[in-house]
Assembly symmetry: C2
Homo-oligomer: 208 residues x 2
């Protein structure tokens, strides 16, 4: 059973305040992740920096939630998937993607992937392309009133995707009861690199 966390009557202003506190921290840790992969400083400097990071982690852990962040929502309709590894503004693993609705019901996102997402040299790991497309197709197939989880997804890799500025988009092709069929693609600056299609299913516990 998957359970969302109801924060109840928390105002949008309070959500904005929490965002302003924690989002810059995650941004700083994203930069640190990139530097950790690429650094060539000497062993003494690495050891000193590691000690500073251990101390920073301890300060943050002095007060922390028990277990993962979860998905929290407020009575006013704010939905905080802040720990999500694709869109989570508090998760340094997430690029993070910002997903937009287009005028005819589809979704799209423009984003950047750097060193942390590299598979073949200079190129996006094929599994990262799958991670992004699973999320983007899932986002168009579901909504807060009707959660749907991936049933099946197929990815076709046309050519390697270069690291750098990327675009992904998805749309629903049809719905059939508890199922939504979605299609989408990932593109770099030379065009489409990966195509995806998937079936997203509303779990039994979420059916009204």
């Amino acid at each position: 059973m998957v359970q969302w966390t109801d924060l109840g009557d928390v105002s949008s202003a309070e959500v904005d305040r929490m965002r302003a506190v924690y989002e810059p921290l995650a941004g700083a840790v994203r930069e640190l992740v990139d530097a950790t992969i690429r650094t060539e400083v000497d062993a003494e400097t690495v050891a000193a920096v590691k000690a500073e990071i251990d101390a920073a982690t301890a300060r943050l852990r002095a007060v922390q939630c028990d277990g993962p962040f979860g998905v929290r929502f407020t009575a006013g309709g704010d939905r905080m998937a802040w720990g999500n590894p694709v869109i989570g503004i508090r998760n340094p693993v997430a690029p993070p993607l910002t997903i937009h609705q287009d005028s005819d019901g589809g979704v799209f996102t423009d984003f950047h992937l750097g060193a942390a997402y590299e598979g073949p040299p200079g190129h996006v790991h094929g599994g990262v392309s799958a991670l992004v497309l699973d999320h983007v197709l899932g986002e168009v197939a579901a909504n807060p009133e009707s959660p749907r989880f991936t049933g099946t997804i197929t990815l076709r890799y046309l050519r390697p995707t270069r690291l750098g500025r990327l675009h992904a988009e998805a749309r629903i092709t049809r719905t059939d009861g508890f199922k939504a069929y979605a299609t989408g693609h990932l593109a770099d600056d030379e065009g489409i690199t990966v195509e995806a299609e998937g079936v997203f299913i509303q779990p039994k516990w979420a059916r009204g």
Copy 2:
């Protein structure tokens, strides 16, 4: 064109030394990523920690490689995919997975996924399952002498995968010229959660 980096005549002892310098740093940053998602310390503490992290990043960036890490190999056969987002020991985004060969040509891995990989509350993001399975199937389908990249992969989600201790495995079902067909699955402590099958193709530039 995807290009590996030939480090030439670097000894295994030197590779081990570099590993001993940089691997603990990535481990510390992984802990920081988890704490960044889960912390509930106050705004002043977050701001102070952020300033420390910015300073740590600057120290690491004082000497760093130009662009992503790439995949480096030595004349002696050491292969360093240390920036990889699934297995990279220098990449805090990677859990990282250690992949083992089994006795009949398959591969398997036992690993742990925590807060940084959460999609539905308490469960693994479906796209993270895809990331892991793409890598594990790719690992069994390719080898240093014969690189193969994902052509097509299909994932079937049987039920949500709980965060925690997980297992993944894959094997080749058949090969056909430049193509290898692989199958595999992800499992949590209650059994198989996601099944995968894929076709992995040797790129034209790598054909002898």
